[in-house]
Subunit: 341 residues, 2 copies
């Protein structure tokens, strides 16, 4: 069935025959698993690990444009939710998918996004087990919004929280910062052709599992620095821990193309969204081991120790320049990059 010239109609959201066909011909074709195929409104998930803690998260994705260098809204909707689970120490297992479609959306674009979700879910080892589709009239939404919620299981004894951070702990970034935000921004500005920069959008559960295996003790907390970038994550941590955060400017892994684009566009890579990076707070004595574990994984090759926790200037995030000067990294009041995820 060639859908490239079809578009979404209001009837696809009716709960009638066309809804039914959209589910069977498109969603079931790509998201192939027993839970979804039963077509119940709820997925039934048996054989749960016992004495476990369940991690539960949700994110809506409204990124514009839907397709960008290095990814698309479907890939992002899987990675973002998988990563939110993985940073708690959970093994991500099940996702839901809620689609809001604008009447007139091309069926080809929808199928491309759905196929990308399926491919990314397979890569991450998660199943899309339940879903929902709504259609709104032309002009009432911008093409396609996707919500994913996710369930994962946290092994007994694992407890990640920024409340565990101690003065002297090291901060590690798993790779270069700002790639997603700046790649999408260049694409929007029509400047993508001038660079080979792509979004870092990737599921991090494999990288994080390798890190936890290498360092069963000493990992305090993890976070994927998406909207608001590195600085938003560090602000939350410094406030929660009641400690200061010192970031060493020289140590920050930032691509030259990102630096150059930021200068051109008046942006700061430390506030730009990442979709395939994790920030890790670790006890000082395991920092080198953690760094080595990250660097041994394809998604962590550019990992670096970027700073430390400090008793000085509690609840502040400070950038230390190579010359020893310090400046505050404030939380942004406004929006640097709307609709970046």
């Amino acid at each position: 069935m060639n859908r490239q010239h079809e578009t979404i109609l209001l009837a696809h959201g009716s709960g009638g025959l066309m809804s039914h066909r959209l589910v069977t011909d498109l969603f079931l074709k790509h998201f192939d698993n027993d839970s979804l195929a039963s077509l119940n409104d709820s997925a039934l998930l048996g054989n749960l690990p016992e004495r476990t803690t369940l991690a539960f998260t949700t994110d809506s994705y409204v990124i514009s444009p839907l397709f960008f260098p290095g990814g698309d809204i479907g890939k992002l909707a899987v990675c973002g939710t998988v990563n939110d689970l993985a940073v708690t120490g959970a093994v991500p297992r099940y996702l839901s998918a809620g689609f809001v479609l604008e009447e007139g959306l091309s069926m080809g674009d929808l199928e491309r996004a759905v196929a990308s979700m399926a491919e990314t879910a397979a890569l991450a080892g998660v199943q899309i087990v339940t879903g929902d589709t709504k259609v709104v009239e032309r002009g009432a939404a911008d093409g396609l919004f996707i919500n994913t919620a996710g369930i994962g299981f946290i092994p007994t004894g694992l407890n990640m929280s920024p409340t565990h951070l101690q003065p002297g702990d090291a901060l590690i970034a798993s790779g270069t910062l700002g790639d997603h935000g700046i790649a999408v921004m260049l694409n929007r500005e029509g400047m993508a052709f001038e660079s080979d920069l792509v979004s870092d959008c990737a599921p991090l559960n494999g990288l994080i599992a390798a890190l936890l295996a290498a360092c069963p003790e000493g990992i305090r907390c993890m976070r994927d620095p998406t909207r608001g970038g590195l600085v938003a994550t560090l602000h939350e941590w410094s406030e929660t821990a009641g400690l200061g955060v010192v970031v060493e400017e020289e140590s920050l892994p930032i691509r030259e193309t990102v630096r150059a684009a930021c200068e051109l566009l008046g942006l700061d890579p430390l506030y730009a969204a990442n979709e395939g990076k994790v920030i890790v707070g670790v006890a000082e004595n395991v920092a080198e081991r953690a760094l080595a574990a990250l660097r041994a994984h394809p998604l962590g090759r550019d990992a670096a120790i970027i700073g430390r926790l400090s008793e000085e200037h509690p609840e502040r995030v400070v950038l230390e320049t190579p010359y020893g000067a310090q400046r505050l990294l404030d939380m942004l009041v406004g929006d640097q990059l709307p609709r970046i995820c």
Copy 2:
């Protein structure tokens, strides 16, 4: 803090300071629980019942208008997901909430919807434990869309499925049909003042728990007949079970105002959405007991046996008139009532 004159800005979705304030001043104020208050991207849910089956569901709500007689998008977003869990036999426990806000949405309207979610969640005994907010520019969404995903636990041994339906089984509706769809439609057409009809929007987990307690055996399956109404539910069941469904026209509980409005608007109440009703398939020998259990609950006072499963005309849904004539109830191809949930 008086928010009635404030509106949503793009900066509320930035991941920066204004996002943070929206979460703490609005969402945490209304959705007050430890999991959400930890402000992690994932909720951590411990003390799971052992040897249980987990039910997981999602729905996006795009109803227009946001406020209607008998409910609003917030109440609907909680009831719809609670009900999807409850009809599996699950005890609903945890919800996620994903908001897509249009720039310019009134903060007063948002708070009204959020307060309504909180009130309905308390009524249903569920917690909203994790959430996400995105803001899109003016014109890129229609005010407010809400996605809720939900988690519930199914007691060991309970297994609801339309595959269990047998010829001779009875079909019960827990109350009057079409109230939600027609109430919203009258409201849209500016005719709400002419009737006292309100949406039936309600969490059904209490009603369903009472039913299961009264009939530990013999309940085959349940479904809340939302989009597509009674007929969509019965079509799914007849196809899944490979049986015919016979609906007795005379037995259908339909309000006079709904009948009259349907004649006026050219609609059919059997295809109209319900948001506080459950259809139950039961073994013939427990049908009267099930009916009595439903009628004993405030949300089931108008419950009625409306039909039966049959070996005749498999995979067809047939309406039987008081004069013994039969007509097919086809699945609608198109959309009777767009954006009804």
